[in-house]
Assembly symmetry: D2
Homo-oligomer: 337 residues x 4
């Protein structure tokens, strides 16, 4: 099969590799769509993310959908021919975290496109059957691939206990922020304010259902009245975090999704006087059934973020599209093209 392999910063090549064989409990999937995530771009540009360093050639891509083409020993479901969305993190299912249902915190997690584990910029991947989630026909390939970043938004809403009537502030209108805002609406939030400095992104946020948008250079989120109940922080921009936390009302919850900084300064006195609850999130656990239900029912259309698509042999183009085109939001690779 062909795979797009990252050999070092700025160096992606198409390689022939043996077709992967599904082991016990696994299925082989022909990849139909795979999203390009900011982390893929970061590995491409810098060859590392924090303590994860690309030391051997690495296949990027962890937002993937496809078609089951072969079953490993002991697998009966999903069937060959079933369209699936892939959950790209494989926990050990034996540790205390896994047994407690927090498999995203498994210390032995093997996650697609995180060195040394290969990802899905390839014609085929192998994955445990339980993490190849069947999707109905109504969910297209790109939408199926984007259930992965949508899962980040669903997880954020769960952690923030977003429910009917919740007022939500989403800071940052990148793909994660936009999907998180949509997730918040699907959880019943009746006010979803999105903040960003990019007017095109804010316009898209409104199209996708945000009830208000704010450019923090023109108006502070702390002026929101009544105060939001929940902050879903998707910017990863430390000053934005502190400001947004101050925007919350009593008993507010802040969910820190956006990454990129080692430390963050919080207004301790505000956190105490309002008894704010602040939670970090790390990926997701158990979100696919919800993501599938929300997209299949038409409540969320994650593929509306897709601004361009590339065949596998243009993986590098896909990885640089965001840098080249300021209007790019979400790029997908379609390895079968």
């Amino acid at each position: 099969m062909r795979a797009a392999v990252l050999r070092g910063p700025g160096d992606v090549v198409l390689e022939e590799r043996p077709d992967p064989e599904p082991g016990p409990g696994e299925v082989a999937v022909r990849v139909t769509s795979v999203g390009v995530c900011g982390s893929d771009v970061h590995y491409y540009e810098h060859g590392r993310i924090g303590r994860f360093v690309v030391e051997e050639p690495l296949v990027l891509g962890h937002e993937a959908a496809g078609l089951v083409v072969a079953l490993g020993p002991g697998v009966s479901s999903p069937a060959v021919g079933q369209r699936v969305s892939i959950e790209p993190g494989i926990p050990d299912r034996s540790c205390d975290q896994c047994l407690a249902g927090r498999y995203n915190l498994c210390p032995n997690m093997r996650f697609f496109a995180t060195p040394p584990v290969d990802g899905a910029f390839a014609e085929y991947v192998v994955v445990p059957a339980v993490f190849a989630h069947a999707v109905p026909e109504i969910i297209g390939d790109d939408a199926a691939a984007l259930l992965e970043p949508l899962s980040v938004g669903i997880w954020a809403c769960r952690k923030g206990r977003v429910t009917a009537g919740t007022r939500v502030l989403v800071t940052g209108a990148g793909p994660i922020g936009l999907l998180t805002a949509q997730a918040a609406l699907a959880f019943g939030a009746t006010e979803v304010t999105v903040s960003d400095v990019n007017p095109a992104r804010l316009a898209l946020a409104k199209e996708l259902g945000a009830t208000a948008v704010v450019d923090p250079r023109q108006g502070s989120v702390t002026d929101l009245t009544p105060a939001p109940h929940v902050l879903l922080e998707c910017s990863g921009h430390p000053p934005a975090v502190a400001d947004a936390v101050r925007a919350l009302g009593p008993a507010g919850r802040a969910v820190l999704v956006g990454t990129g900084s080692a430390d963050v300064s919080l207004p301790l006195q505000v956190v105490q006087e309002r008894e704010l609850e602040i939670t970090g999130t790390f990926r997701y656990a158990g979100t696919w059934p919800t993501a599938i239900a929300l997209v299949a029912s038409g409540r969320i259309a994650p593929d509306r973020l897709v601004t361009s698509a590339y065949p596998l042999d243009q993986a590098e183009q896909a990885l640089t599209a965001g840098r080249r085109d300021p209007h790019s939001v979400k790029v997908v690779l379609r390895p079968q093209t």
Copy 2:
């Protein structure tokens, strides 16, 4: 002012009464719409509900909206002229239950239209300012009145922890069942099955968004696949309860909203093997902000249930409409007409 007064079973008359004066912390409200609830009809027909007996003339009606016309001492909000939806239960706000936020369980609750407390089948009522909830113009008078039964549905969804992607079974498609089903959708439920023996009610349920309906004489709810996560029991019909509990999957939740029976038999072994959680509900607490947000945002239109409206002097007609017209769903009185 005029008020429709129940003097005994089947005996409602229009009386002149002094206009009520708001005391400290209270407001006077000119009633614009008030729903007729099954409990009003039950008092009208039987003169009692369980241990609550109509011994003195009683004004019925507890689903009310109106216009603030006077403020008692110490009240600044809501202002005179503000349209409001009335929360009709006045807890003591001093007991352990109130201080714990469970004011619906207050042992000293004074609830509209529950002997000896008068209700809102009248031109004016008086209520603590904090329980006269301001509603925006987009919410009509009938919808504002029906925030009360909608609150029952919201409370049921909270107790059942309905959230995005939840599969819900609502048993019973009376007004409470229909509003509860709508609430479940607003909480993000992606499958909402409604069961009832009345085909017209089932048809209305579908119109209002139910994803499936079932007549239990034709198909058992225990056949639902995959099993619902949450049962919102609104029929009050004991055999239906046991059957519906059996329909739940592992870790399912059953919320018992429907009343009318002293005891209920539950399948203990099923409850244990699936670790089901069964909760009774008693009215609601803290639901009005959510109800207002859901209706104002267009997610729920409770007034779509209204099948007929009467002026105050036809209160008896309103109370008998359900018995006279099999297609009647929700009847309202409009005391200013």
Copy 3:
């Protein structure tokens, strides 16, 4: 090795069997103590429990402790020579329930001494390493074995949200009730009332820390003032359940632990007016670390229930001890003697 094998009702014999070999991820354990549970006795007497029927010879016993004697491929912990307490239910760790942390509800659970899975009335057993929980020296062999029934009590306390200052009613003072009462105290309950008709059991309950005891033939639990917050129902006696549920105050929780009846009648009106929450329990999940911590710290001494101990070749004596001796509470087998 030797194993005590149930061939049919009332028919237990000692057999020689091959020593079990640990497979990948498993350890072999030399059993030092194994408790006799009511379910073992029930299988012995009736050859079945509900839908589980002894059709092939079955080794009973699921409350077991021992010493690790061999490691299967891939296992590094616990080490050979480590004393362990065995968690006797092996879930598939792949289904939705397992991934959600509710592995006790796994539909593919293989549980010791439940047909056709053999248990621990044997010199050796094999178990996945992750379910062989290391215990410190301060926990004796019998106490280590009884972490299993203690887990039932811990799980009940979790489900009932027993915490500091909770008032608890435990109905039924068999081994499960007694361990559950002790667990409630360890969770911070400050009032733990135990009810039973057996005065010796009630006396033991008091010795173990119950703050009050009641014989339901002499005084009703509904007279308890102030009302308990939590009912931990361990009798499995349907009339006791309904009565005990009535004893709860507003927002009370009832946890149904005791088994034996298909149905149970509940006071629906009480459940609704007080918004009671009723939960069934099925075994436990993630309880061993808590059980170990509680016993190691001296807060609970589960082996105080042990009234007699037998060598492996007297398994039948052990199974009939409860019937023969009215003062028998908990019987253990010590297979190495």
Copy 4:
């Protein structure tokens, strides 16, 4: 009556004031013991705490117990002669926060000894009956007074969801830290490590049940193995906070109790990768029943912290005792002496 009045920084005098009269719903209490809190000392030394400035003469003291001596209109309980512990914050009981059970976040809270509300360094105080909590004889006067700071610890444990088997780290061994550590033990924590730089305080922590102590100058809390589940931060020392947060394991909870700093820097990446939950606390709500139950049952003896007691006319001595005596832990005033 006599009252100790703070007229400005360092200026406390004894004054004669009229005996307070209980209004509707209130009781008058003869104060028998009142603890000196760090906030009292801070007002005495600086004349302000943040935005709260002593502009008029102020009676300090908010940790108080006494005897009911008079009932206002409408009060029947507690009775005259009843010993009570006073909950010193009076919320409006009408706002959204109060109705939600979060009365500690009431924006209209009137709190003892917080300008312009007088406290309890006086012979008599008046308080709503519902906040004068009856205590049994087994709880002495000083212990009854110290239910207030104990409530801070109980609230911290609730926010941190401390339960049976929890491993807890308490940073800071001042009175709040010491009471919080005791509360954690009463909630079932089996490992409670206390950190402080004061060896005498650490020794006292061990006497009170801490299972380990650590001086952060000699050993880092991040070395604790296994990692604590819950951090109860009682030092208010920002660098300690960040370090202690790093000590937590996956899914850990940090409760920020200690005050004194406007901002705090947190290790964002650690918070995210471990999905830590960080909560500020502001006083407490609904803690007195728990505090009374824990002290009455002998699980916590808050008066073991008392190192000296003064009569009312030596209020200034009481306020300076901590500065004068390095071994001082908790000082009480006994206004009747």
